[in-house]
């Protein structure tokens, strides 16, 4: 990989175990500012686990132990003086399964900015986030309805809007399009392109076309190990590893 910029986020020899069973093994990778990094790999290979370690969401799982270092702008994300709340303000997340709050659509998006006293008019912020997430037209007349009445795909876009409303520096997306139809997926991909101007995005996806379409860098994980990491073009067209080639061309297993 030829990038000589300073990475925004960097994992160094990260091993993450659940009750002693390693799910992520000795992974080192750098995530660059205002780029889209895709993490691909078979189910259960540790993608979500690795992603969660990047904004300290693994803190909430009781039996997790983590070794190695994760650096954010060259300082330890897990340092003793670091407030995890501050971390999650800068590094937002969209989860693998849609998890709206059992509250109104408006409250779902507005709650984060409100408790953190983000500047500006909250209505403007909510509208902007919902527009970015390609949901505004469907919900603009029923912002006070419960978010639980939305369809699965709409809920997922709501969760994207909720993350966007916080205007973090980095957005971690765990399969944000898994419940979306091709039209919404295309709109989310357009959104990612747009967001790249200002945000750094890490996306986990099972969709090879999506990874090759939207990402600048691609990391291929297999049973917890980082098999290959590089420019998306290279990973998809000239992979160095046989296993990567088998996976991206759908010939594995």
């Amino acid at each position: 990989m030829k990038n000589t910029d300073l990475p925004l986020l960097e994992a160094r020899g990260v091993t993450i175990s659940y009750s002693g069973n390693a799910a992520v093994k000795d992974v080192s990778l750098a995530i660059y500012e205002k780029k889209i990094t895709a993490i691909i790999g078979p189910s259960g290979c540790g993608k979500s686990t690795l992603l969660r370690s990047l904004n300290r969401m693994n803190d909430f799982i009781d039996n997790v132990t983590q070794e190695g270092q994760i650096l954010y702008r060259n300082s330890d994300l897990y340092g003793a003086d670091v407030d995890p709340v501050e971390v999650r303000l800068r590094i937002g997340m969209v989860f693998q399964r849609p998890n709206p709050f059992p509250k109104s659509i408006f409250r779902n998006v507005a709650w984060g900015p409100t408790i953190n006293r983000l500047p500006g008019d909250i209505n403007v912020r909510v509208e902007r986030a919902l527009k970015q997430a390609a949901l505004w037209n469907e919900v603009k007349d029923r912002l006070d309805d419960s978010a639980l009445n939305l369809s699965g795909g709409q809920q997922q876009r709501l969760c994207i809007a909720r993350a966007l409303a916080m205007e973090p520096e980095v957005i971690l997306m765990d399969e944000p399009c898994s419940a979306l139809d091709p039209v919404s997926t295309a709109r989310i991909e357009d959104l990612m392109y747009e967001l790249k101007q200002n945000y750094t995005i890490v996306i986990v996806t099972h969709n090879m076309q999506q990874a090759s379409r939207v990402s600048d860098y691609t990391a291929f994980l297999e049973s917890g190990r980082l098999i290959e990491y590089g420019d998306t073009d290279e990973v998809f067209t000239r992979p160095k590893q046989k296993r990567t080639e088998d996976y991206v061309t759908g010939r594995f297993g």
Binding site: R97, F101, N116
Partner: protein, 297 residues
């Protein structure tokens, strides 16, 4: 492959023997459930009918506004009714915050240590301790040691002790039932632990917590033993004006009447039971209302 050969399967209208057996089993199970439910309802209906037949003739405004008396015609439940309302209200005010905060602490904040486990197990054990034991404790601590005498406050504190384990356990269950994904979503938008609990965990758990609290209070309303223990079995011919006043309560009044030899007083007791039932049902209705309000939002 033979088993999958569709041409060998019977026509759709003919059920196989095994399927018929399974349907029969399902019907049998349903009949059992209906039968047992009906039996329980019948016993309850019989009880209510008996009580109503004895008590209803005595139930009038006078019964509610008169104080207890030696003469059945003039006897009423005013002091007992107000005593019960005082006890329930004070008990709720004391046990609700203590119980819910304890449950939040145990579920959300307590480190998963041996001490925490010991505390949790003991709370579960306390729920099974006979109520008279709480009466003895209340007598020793509140009535004597703290010098509260036979006051409403001493009674409410004793009742709070009695129902706290139930409240804590049910509140813990309700809090635990809040999906982890909602907590994580809240943390992911930069919330602190308390903000997550306050804005998401408590509102989602509230219906369950309230159900537990109301059920526990309903139990407290019917309890007689601990109140007798702390000395509430006296003739009280006034309505408590404050938490330090003496009191009597509906179950005690009922107990009192039942233990007299005269038939009239037994019928008075039945009337008292009806009043107690009405108080209970109103509380349950209140719980339903609160839950409904809570889930509509």
């Amino acid at each position: 492959m033979a088993a999958n050969d569709l041409t060998k399967r019977p026509a759709l209208g003919q059920r196989s023997a095994s399927l018929r057996r399974r349907h029969l089993l399902a019907a049998l199970f349903k009949a059992c459930c209906v039968g047992l439910t009906a039996a329980a309802v019948a016993v309850l209906g019989l009880l209510i009918y008996q009580v109503a037949a004895d008590g209803l003739p005595w139930l009038d405004m006078q019964f509610l506004t008169n104080f207890p008396s030696r003469f059945a015609e003039k006897a009423g439940v005013k002091s007992a009714l107000f005593g019960t309302l005082w006890i329930v209200t004070l008990t709720a005010l004391i046990s609700l915050p203590v119980g819910v905060l304890a449950a939040i602490y145990l579920e959300d904040y307590a480190p998963p240590s041996r001490l925490t486990r010991v505390i949790e197990i003991n709370i579960a054990n306390l729920a099974g301790v006979p109520s008279i034991v709480y009466g003895i404790l209340g007598l020793a601590i509140f009535v004597r040691f703290m010098g509260l005498e036979r006051s409403v406050l001493a009674g409410a504190l004793t009742m709070s002790l009695l129902i706290l384990p139930v409240i804590i356990i049910s509140a813990k269950e309700a809090i635990r039932a809040v999906p982890a994904s909602i907590r994580l979503a809240a943390f992911a938008v930069g919330a602190t632990h308390w903000q997550v609990v306050r804005a998401h965990v408590l509102p989602a758990a509230l219906p369950g917590i309230l159900t537990g609290v109301i059920l526990a209070l309903s139990r407290a309303i019917g309890e007689t033993a601990p109140l007798i223990m702390i000395g509430a079995l006296t003739y009280v011919a006034f309505v408590p004006a404050g938490p330090m006043d003496e009191f009597t309560a509906l179950p005690i009044q009922i107990f009192n009447w039942v233990s007299r030899p005269q038939q009239e007083f037994h019928e008075l007791a039945a009337a008292g039971i009806i009043v107690l039932l009405v108080v209970l049902l109103s509380m349950n209705a209140l719980a339903v209302l609160i839950r409904y309000q809570g889930t509509r939002k």
